[in-house]
């Protein structure tokens, strides 16, 4: 465990503000804070950077989600940065996420002593990020029509769509590449080609596992719980309920708006932690707090937010929370692209090399021997 940890914010007016520190007797000076900030800016990347200042070893964590904030740790003389990397990144992530939600609820000593961390993004969260970057969502739509497309052509298309020359195709493509939705490869000597490997579907699933578990462990809420879920997914006519598989033409359709909401919920680190915990069974706020290692006050805030988004539901008498809907984003093989590829070859829009490579990539990802 580091000898000391502190959270610093660069405020536009006041300068460096030390928002939290552990131990509270820790003394810092302006030079140290400046150098830590400088090292972090020099690296121009998220996560951790190491600095040695006046013979002391510091590690600072930053994230583009929290501009101007740093979680810094002072390492002991025997501590090695590389060995502590995952632990420091995890605690940095957790501390900043908690600071954003409720700075007063953050107890640095408890977090550090318990070794609580927030892990990196899950596959589901990486998929959710696509819908939170408008140009990425646009690119995905285009790839759903094309399957295979030259990167240069895609770039021109995107610039036309957003009516701006400033749009950066690499940046827009990043969430798609990181989540494995597309793959970019050189086909031939110079032709950078984009392949759609997976398609995604964001929706609210019924919380089946949690409903079944409630019948076993909390029979007092079971029938009421089932009733709430049924009312949401298949209410008696004339209400239509929830059906995300209906074809949608209207871009302002509530289902599309809801998909964005689902993405936002899944990509919010604290909401995802609480949601994931409730996927298995109904729990009290205290139980969620114990399982997620989040302070109970923050768990309550997250639960209220989930309740407002029709994700969680509360059973007041039993003091239990359960999922009303289970937001999910899943990937699937885009089989519907195959006829498009056939047409593109016959019309010489793509080379046979590109088509062959596409089939190889699909087989690698979706074949029997893929992971």
């Amino acid at each position: 465990m580091p000898e000391a940890t502190f959270v610093v914010q660069l405020d536009d007016i006041h300068g460096f503000v030390v928002r939290q520190r552990h131990p509270t007797t820790l003394t810092l000076n302006e030079k140290t804070l400046n150098l830590l900030f400088y090292e972090q800016q020099k690296a121009q990347k998220e996560e951790l950077s190491f600095s040695e200042i006046d013979g002391l070893k510091f590690v600072s964590y930053t994230s583009s989600d929290f501009p101007g904030w740093m979680v810094c740790s002072l390492l002991g003389p025997d501590e090695v940065f590389d060995e502590l990397h995952p632990e420091l990144a995890g605690s940095g992530r957790l501390i900043l996420a908690l600071m954003k939600e409720d700075p007063d609820a953050v107890r640095l000593n408890e977090i550090l002593e318990s070794g609580k961390v927030l892990t990196g993004l899950t596959d589901e969260q990486k998929l959710a990020e696509i819908y939170l970057t408008p140009s990425s969502a646009l690119l995905l739509e285009r790839m759903q029509d094309e399957g295979v497309e030259k990167a240069a052509k895609l770039s021109i298309w995107l610039k036309n769509q957003v009516q701006s020359d400033d749009v950066d195709i690499r940046q827009a493509m990043d969430p798609l590449m990181r989540s494995g939705i597309v793959k970019v490869e050189l086909v031939g000597r110079t032709s950078e080609t984009v392949f759609l490997i997976k398609d995604v579907f964001g929706y609210r699933a019924p919380p089946t596992e949690s409903v079944l578990k409630a019948e076993e462990s909390h029979p007092s809420i079971a029938s009421k719980y089932r009733e709430y879920v049924t009312e949401f997914f298949s209410p008696p006519p004339p209400s239509k309920g929830y059906n995300p598989t209906l074809p949608i033409e209207d871009p302002t359709s509530p289902i599309l708006e809801d998909r964005e909401k689902i993405s936002r919920i899944l990509s919010d680190r604290l909401q995802f932690l609480v949601l994931d915990c409730l996927r298995r069974e109904p729990l009290t706020a205290t139980e969620i707090s114990q399982r997620t290692a989040l302070p109970e006050s923050i768990v309550m805030k997250v639960l209220w937010a989930l309740e407002a988004d029709k994700v969680a539901v509360r059973f007041e008498e039993e003091d239990l929370w359960a999922l009303l809907t289970n937001p999910r984003i899943e990937s699937f093989m885009p089989e519907y692209i195959l006829p498009i590829i056939k047409r593109k070859i016959s019309e010489k829009e793509i080379t046979s090399d590109a088509a062959r490579r596409y089939l190889e990539l699909l087989a690698e990802n979706w074949g029997e021997h893929s992971d």
């Binding site: 914010q9 660069l10 405020d11 536009d12 007016i13 006041h14 300068g15 460096f16 503000v17 030390v18 928002r19 939290q20 520190r21 509270t24 007797t25 820790l26 003394t27 810092l28 000076n29 302006e30 030079k31 804070l33 400046n34 150098l35 900030f37 400088y38 800016q41 020099k42 121009q44 501009p67 101007g68 600071m99 954003k100 939600e101 409720d102 700075p103 007063d104």
Partner: protein, 300 residues
């Protein structure tokens, strides 16, 4: 500056209050008046939240008191006078009593002079000046220039401090306030390190400055180089008042302030920062820049 602390609360340089936004909402949740003193990336979300909060406050009896709620590191102060809701957004670490007093002043002034106009949907001419007078308690002045031109010496001169015998290059940024206030406003100076390695910080360090002072050593080489700084400032803080300082006028190689001003394209003033007799003149220049900056912002 030492940021030692034994409490768990925030420690920061200076203790002055900064009101970051002033909002007045009407009966139908409409925004009657708003002013932001610091740029915010999440302005739309904040305004939406304030409108919802105002709606909720209609159901609560605040008894003419100012109350507040915390939102992450910010604190939202609010008061109600039928049919208006008044709100300040400040920092959680700010002095709540001081802000409550300011809220009282603003509410009283508004209700006495502008409530009827607002209800008749008439323009609130003159209210903006009063809001500035009440809400602006601190002004950020950034001092920018390449290494060795005398930025830190200027800060020592402004603060009436004795110059150190050995120059000590600034690391990152050094933040100091002026001992005296100008028009009841505290001036906080950001002395930004001029070494090239710190140039990656310049844009961040001048953010939300109301005045930027570009310091040159009055040599042709340095003045020509400093033109880049003028462009940077105009791009990053387009609303800031920018002035130039032609320092080291006691040296034989110094260009005249007029020539420096011509090259930089900004109003420029002469200075010998190691000469204490320039102190009052420099304070006047800063004071004028602040006032001109306010006037220009209003005209815009």
């Amino acid at each position: 500056m030492l940021l030692a602390g034994t409490s768990n609360s925030s420690q920061r340089i200076g203790v002055n209050t900064v009101i970051r936004g002033v909002y007045i909402l009407g009966d139908q949740g409409s925004m009657i008046y708003s002013k932001e003193y610091a740029r915010s990336e999440s302005k739309d979300t904040l305004v939406e939240f304030l409108m919802n909060l105002a709606e909720f406050l209609k159901t609560v009896d605040l008894q003419e008191k100012t109350e507040y709620m915390n939102a992450a590191v910010s604190r939202i102060f609010y008061a109600r006078r039928e049919p208006f809701t008044f709100m300040f957004v400040a920092d959680k670490a700010d002095d709540a009593t001081q802000i409550e007093e300011k809220m009282g002043q603003m509410v009283e002034f508004f209700m006495k002079n502008f409530a009827n106009l607002a209800m008749a949907n008439q323009p609130l001419d003159g209210f903006d000046d009063k809001v500035d007078e009440i809400a602006v308690t601190m002004i950020k002045v950034a001092i920018l220039g390449f290494s060795g031109v005398g930025k830190t010496t200027i800060l020592h001169l402004l603060r009436g401090e004795i110059l150190p015998l050995v120059p000590n290059p600034t690391i990152g940024v050094s933040i100091k306030t002026l001992p005296e206030e100008i028009s009841n406003v505290k001036i906080v100076f950001w002395d930004v390190a001029g070494q090239l390695r710190f140039s990656i910080l310049w844009a961040k360090m001048i953010a939300n400055a109301q005045v930027v002072v570009i310091v040159t050593d009055s040599t042709l080489e340095n003045v020509l180089k400093s033109k880049k700084l003028v462009s940077l400032v105009q791009e990053e803080v387009p609303d800031a008042k920018v002035i130039g300082i032609a320092n080291k006028q006691d040296l034989p190689t110094a260009l005249t302030p007029q020539r420096v001003g011509q090259i930089l394209g900004i109003p420029t003033y002469e200075l010998v920062a190691i000469d204490i007799s320039y102190r009052n003149r420099l304070i006047s220049i800063i004071r004028r820049a602040i006032l001109e900056g306010k006037t220009e912002a209003k005209a815009a």
